[in-house]
């Protein structure tokens, strides 16, 4: 922590602020994970952390370390890229699995197996024409 | 010991490791080549062990120290060659040769990667005998255990898997205890090198003694599980009985690794020179050993099949050794080592023999019966009884019977073989240790334990032998190959040699015991071992 003492105040302030917001957002996300009622709703919540939560934290880290090491520190970008690519993988797989499990369990809260093609196309045409 | 000769110390570890690793680069079906490699490695190991034995003996009390990575002790890992480790190396390589030869008849085909696993087992055993570092000992224990897991399960089948599960679970628990013990010892003393540890122990502050002793005790439990002390030994008979014969024959030295470590560490760390901690836990060893003998005896009497009987004999042997090690006495240590040699050879031979003897009883080996390929591709060459068991050598039953008699005599400690000598030496030493012209209660107890366990062995072995060899029902003469009989003969011959050459052997063992009871030389030898970098030039970073 002694290293931080020599940094300009605005760096410290900005870093602290970003970190705080990021942590708060993440916490809110997990609170949502607790509070929301259905699985599908709950799945949305943690994405607060995986998107802006991480983004702000990385931003804070970049600013802080760039100032600390007096050179641009950008490798945090990699984390952002990795998260962007890997989060959809998990969520897509997991939510689809949940859908299957709900359908199999006979839940009426989820869309049934895909409706006949014709109705869908009709609906689509309507939207397109708007 | 200098120059190239110096590297000989590490060969017992490196050679099987290299050969095992090399075999992994070969295609699976090249069994003949692998077998030859394995055999080659084992034969070289024997010669190396003999050379090392002579080195250890020739150097008098000097010990050979190998600084790995050329880092000085106590910082780097050291291998230490002394009379004891040289002896154990020889024993393990001899058993390895016997087991390997035996396996060549059929067992090495019963599953993939037999030969590499076998070599890796040797790596673990030899490493454990050589290392002078507590954590490195753990690593070699694990190498040995890992390979033994593989060998226990070799051939598959319900019995093996069931026993293997227990074996693995218990040994994993023991390994965790090992780690806890090492950690505590390091946390208090700050070193892992055994010699350094022995050096630091007497100076351990009083307020740290509790922790140190707790660490040592927990570590000890880990070794006692391996050695098979009651009540930590129940896995042993089942596992050894379930393992294939060559594996079981090798395992008989694995419990001796536990004994070896206790002997080595206990005398080094808690020997007479250890100051306030001297003799820590000795009476526990003694009474625990006696109880183990008792349990082994009971088990031997109660066992109906020979494999379990053999397993219980392992316990009797372990218990006897533990009990006598609990009495710190040089002559006893020497006697214990003789007993160790004799009983290990005998039990190994017995494990090999059982397979052959029972082959005739349950016609059609059961190895593959359970693995019927209802599931999975048939990658293994099926073992056809006719072609595999080969020519029946003449007088098979007579030879098997004779071998059985030898084993029985050895295990019961009856003349004329080394079992008797071993018991005599042990008991004579125990009596002598209790002072002239008196016999202490402990000595009586030990005497009784040894005599009664021998009696039980007579009863149990006779029962088993009569049932197997004198059975009235027309049992088919087992088809046995020469290569299966030879190793048994080899081991038994060694027991005969031990009997005839008891004098010279005891001379060596007495030197060994003396060195063990005067660990200062070991400590100084390890801690003052010179680095190569100091003599040769160049090198280092």
């Amino acid at each position: 922590m002694s290293a931080a003492a020599n940094l300009p105040a605005w760096v410290l302030f900005l870093t602290a602020l970003l970190v705080l917001v990021s942590a708060s957002l993440t916490l809110i996300g997990t609170i949502g994970l607790l509070r929301l009622k259905t699985f599908y709703e709950r799945t949305h919540a943690p994405t607060l952390g995986t998107t802006l939560g991480i983004g702000l934290m990385l931003f804070a880290s970049m600013i802080y370390f760039s100032a600390l090491q007096s050179r641009p520190v950008l490798h945090e970008l990699l984390i952002a890229v990795f998260m962007t690519v890997t989060t959809p993988i998990t969520l897509v797989l997991l939510v689809r699995a949940a859908l299957y499990r709900d359908r199999y369990a006979g839940s009426d809260k989820v869309p049934p197996t895909s409706p006949p093609k014709s109705t869908l196309l009709k609906k689509q045409a309507k939207i397109d024409s708007d | 010991m200098s120059g190239w000769l110096h590297h000989l110390i590490i060969v017992p570890v490196l050679l099987p490791l290299t050969v095992g690793a090399g075999m992994l680069l070969l295609e699976e079906p090249r069994r003949r080549l692998k077998a030859s490699l394995s055999l080659f490695s084992t034969l070289v190991l024997i010669s190396v062990a003999i050379a090392l034995l002579q080195l250890a003996q020739g150097n008098g009390a000097e010990i050979g120290v190998y600084l790995l990575g050329d880092w000085p002790a106590p910082f780097g890992i050291v291998l230490v060659l002394d009379r004891l480790s040289a002896l154990m190396l020889l024993l393990s390589s001899v058993l390895a040769l016997a087991s390997l030869l035996f396996s060549l008849a059929r067992w090495h085909r019963a599953g993939p990667h037999f030969h590499p696993l076998f070599q890796f087992l040797l790596v673990g055993i030899n490493g454990a005998f050589l290392t002078g570092d507590l954590f490195n000992l753990f690593v070699f224990f694990e190498v040995m255990l890992a390979a033994s897991y593989g060998l226990v399960l070799h051939g598959s089948g319900t019995a093996r898997v069931k026993a293997g599960l227990h074996y693995i679970a218990v040994n994993l628990a023991a390994s965790l205890l090992f780690l806890i013990g090492v950690a505590l010892i390091y946390g208090v003393t700050g070193t892992l090198n055994m010699a350094d540890l022995a050096n630091r122990l007497p100076a351990v502050a009083t307020e740290d003694r509790a922790l140190l002793q707790a660490g040592a005790a927990i570590l000890g439990i880990a070794f006692l599980v391996k050695a098979g002390m009651w009540p930590l030994c129940f896995w042993l008979p089942t596992t050894y009985a379930a393992a294939s014969a060559p594996a079981a024959a090798m395992f008989s030295i694995m419990s001796k690794v536990g004994i070896y470590v206790i002997l080595r560490l206990w005398l080094l760390l808690f020997g007479a020179d250890a100051g306030s901690v001297a003799g820590f836990g000795g009476s526990w060893l003694f009474y625990g050993g006696l109880l183990t003998v008792g349990f082994g005896t009971i088990g031997a009497l109660a066992s109906q099949d020979m494999s379990r009987l053999a397993g219980y004999n392992v316990l009797v042997s372990s218990g006897t050794l533990l009990a006598v090690l609990g009495v710190t006495d040089m002559a006893i240590t020497a006697g214990a080592l003789f007993y160790l040699l004799s009983s290990t050879l005998a039990i190994s031979a017995f494990f090999l023999l059982i397979e052959l003897a029972e082959r005739g009883r349950r016609a059609g080996a059961d190895i593959l019966a359970v693995t019927l390929e209802a599931f999975g591709e048939t990658e293994e060459e099926p073992l056809h009884e006719e072609e595999e068991a080969g020519i029946a050598i003449p007088a098979t039953m007579a030879i098997l019977g004779l071998s059985f008699v030898f084993c029985a005599l050895l295990l019961a400690g009856l003349p004329p073989l080394s079992g008797f000598i071993g018991k005599f030496i042990l008991l004579a030493a125990v009596l002598d240790s209790s002072g002239t012209a008196t016999v202490s209660l402990d000595a009586w107890l030990l005497l009784a334990a040894v005599i009664l366990s021998g009696l039980a062995a007579v009863i149990a072995m006779t029962r088993a032998g009569i049932r197997t060899f004198w059975a009235p029902l027309g049992r088919s003469v087992p088809r046995v190959r020469l290569i299966e009989i030879t190793p048994i003969g080899l081991l038994l011959l060694l027991c005969v040699l031990l009997t005839v050459q008891a004098g010279p052997v005891m001379y060596y063992l007495q030197g060994t015991a003396e060195a063990l009871h005067a660990p200062q030389r070991y400590i100084e030898g390890v801690l003052s071992a010179p680095r190569a970098g100091q003599t040769a030039q160049g090198g280092g970073a």
């Binding site: 994405t47 959809p88 093609k117 869908l120 | -």
Partner: protein
């Protein structure tokens, strides 16, 4: 060229990643990074990723801007929903079926990234035969609006980039 550098853009990205990882622009790192980029993309050929080319850098940038904006907006929105005294009040969550025009794997993949990265929407199912995508929306006020957003705001740009 194609043979040696089957995925030039990906290789470039990997080189950049390597340099970022090592936080260095030393010649040795550039050389090593280039080598690794080449080798790793060579190996990737074996895995036969779907063919595709990404062009229109500016379009991509526009899309990126849109998405970032959406992410920030929806982060706030979702946080608001969660922090309500009763998150369920005045809100219905639900599934939306969307017929997609593009079958291009990269379009779909990118779309999945966007939908997932935007709090409030998740990718639920995609039926390749009909091209129907199901998403789940946390605060579903207007189904049509969501269809619009996905197809017009994102898909069309993605098609421009990848097709």
């Amino acid at each position: 060229m194609k043979r040696w550098l089957p995925f030039p853009r990906l290789a470039a990205l990997i080189l950049i990643a390597w340099l970022l990882l090592n936080q260095s622009l030393a010649p040795s790192h550039i050389l090593l990074g280039a080598l690794l980029a080449l080798l790793s993309t060579q190996l990737l050929v074996r895995l036969q990723p779907p063919r595709g080319h990404a062009s229109r850098f500016w379009t991509a940038l526009v899309l990126l801007g849109r998405v970032l904006l959406d992410i920030i907006r929806s982060n706030i929105a979702v946080a608001g929903i969660i922090l309500r005294r009763r998150p369920e009040r005045n809100r219905t969550a639900g599934f939306v079926h969307i017929g997609l025009t593009s079958r291009h794997p990269y379009v779909l993949a990118a779309l999945a990234c966007i939908i997932t990265a935007t709090p409030g929407t998740i990718w639920v199912d995609y039926e390749s035969a009909s091209g129907v995508l199901i998403i789940h929306v946390l605060d579903l006020v207007d189904e049509e609006a969501w269809i619009q957003t996905i197809t017009q705001r994102y898909e069309s740009l993605l098609r421009e980039i990848f097709e």
